[in-house]
């Protein structure tokens, strides 16, 4: 059982990496300004929906990756030290921008969704 679950894990990781590679290769070859990984995500979503890839085969690997997303991101945030001068010089613009844009995103999405939801249910 132990061996089997490990095998499933490896297979899932292989599938996910191959989709990432496919996305990156397509972006490199076509030169479209789109994140290769996100294209990989879309291709994998499509393949799951079409039944070309079984959800079970990537489940263990996907769960491991998604549950530890925050850890993978830490070294990038640490990289902000390199930009501390920009951050301190523009702290007010940044704070206000973050606050207002988060509020805008919340209210615009919520209002439109609520209105359309009501129209749809009538």
């Amino acid at each position: 059982m132990e061996g089997r679950s490990w095998q499933v894990n490896m297979r899932g990781l292989a599938i996910i990496l191959v989709f990432q590679l496919a996305g990156e290769v397509i972006v490199t070859l076509t030169g479209i300004p789109f994140p290769g990984r996100v294209l990989g995500l879309i291709l994998l979503w499509l393949s799951l929906s079409k039944g070309w890839v079984a959800a079970e085969s990537i489940e263990a690997a996907a769960n491991f990756l998604l549950q530890n997303l925050t850890l993978f991101f830490t070294p990038i945030v640490v990289g902000a030290v390199v930009y501390r001068e920009v951050l301190t010089a523009h702290w007010f613009a940044i704070s206000l921008g973050l606050l207002l844009s988060t509020a805008a995103g919340l209210v615009v999405t919520g209002k439109i969704a609520q209105r359309l939801e009501k129209v749809g249910s009538k």
Binding site: F34, L65, S101, Q114
Partner: protein
């Protein structure tokens, strides 16, 4: 003495050092967050500050630390692709409400982008700062890659992403209710669109429906922003 220093430099520049420090400090931050659960003690915020402090005290440059740090952040790539699984699980939900979901998430993502870039630009931020602000509402791995494509700085975007998530998690549901948005699906879509995974964490505490829709919106907003951000940059001439 010089040899000792040389050996020390070699150690802190090794891949092992950066990787070991990252995982260990993160583990401690996670424990702290479990003991004092709050968006302000988010493990990403605490662990990043902890590592920055450690590097500062030991006098280690970021580029040295990042030899090992890169090993950890590489996994963001496959993690982004893995987001396909939760999205796939909700494909039916998307199909049934495709108009509501795509319109609201698309408009919200666009509003967040324009306001973020507009405010910073009006208050005198340079192009690199403005471009780094644009993708900051979406889930971390996608935001960092969009930032690199449009000419921002991934590390800056990373910090903005985390702060945005914390803001959304701290006052999101309260703001929505104050604005008369009480429909659970609408609340979930709003939280996921405006404050990605950290907001989704709060959404899950508000209720199962809110959490599920927030998770869905988080993935979709990432994809939509990846499409819209380069367009916004061209349209507004932010290059």
């Amino acid at each position: 003495m010089t040899d000792d220093l040389g050996a020390l430099t070699e150690i802190v520049s090794s891949k092992t050092f950066g990787a070991a420090v990252t995982v260990s400090v993160f583990l401690l931050a996670q424990r702290l967050h479990r003991r004092y659960p709050s968006p302000i003690t988010h493990p990403l915020l605490i662990s990043s500050l902890g590592i920055i402090l450690l590097l500062e005290v030991l006098g280690i440059e970021y580029s040295r630390y990042n030899h090992g740090g890169e090993l950890i952040s590489f996994l963001l790539g496959p993690a982004t692709v893995a987001l396909a699984l939760p999205l796939y699980r909700r494909t039916e939900e998307v199909r049934r409400r495709v108009v509501v979901i795509l319109t609201s998430v698309g408009a919200g993502a666009a509003a967040a982008m324009v306001v973020a870039a507009g405010v910073v630009r009006l208050l005198g931020g340079g192009p690199r700062l403005v471009l780094s602000m644009i993708p900051k509402s979406v889930t971390t791995p996608i935001a960092v890659e969009i930032s690199a494509i449009i000419g921002g700085e991934g590390a800056l975007t990373g910090v903005f992403v985390v702060l945005t998530g914390i803001l959304g998690a701290v006052f999101g549901p309260e703001l929505l209710r104050a604005c008369g948005i009480k429909d659970e699906k609408a609340m979930g879509l709003a939280l996921g669109t405006a404050s990605h995974g950290i907001g989704t964490g709060r959404a899950l505490k508000e209720g199962e429906t809110i959490g599920a829709y927030s998770g869905l919106a988080m993935g979709l907003a990432g994809v939509i922003t990846a499409i819209l951000a380069p367009l916004a940059v061209i349209v507004f001439g932010w290059f």
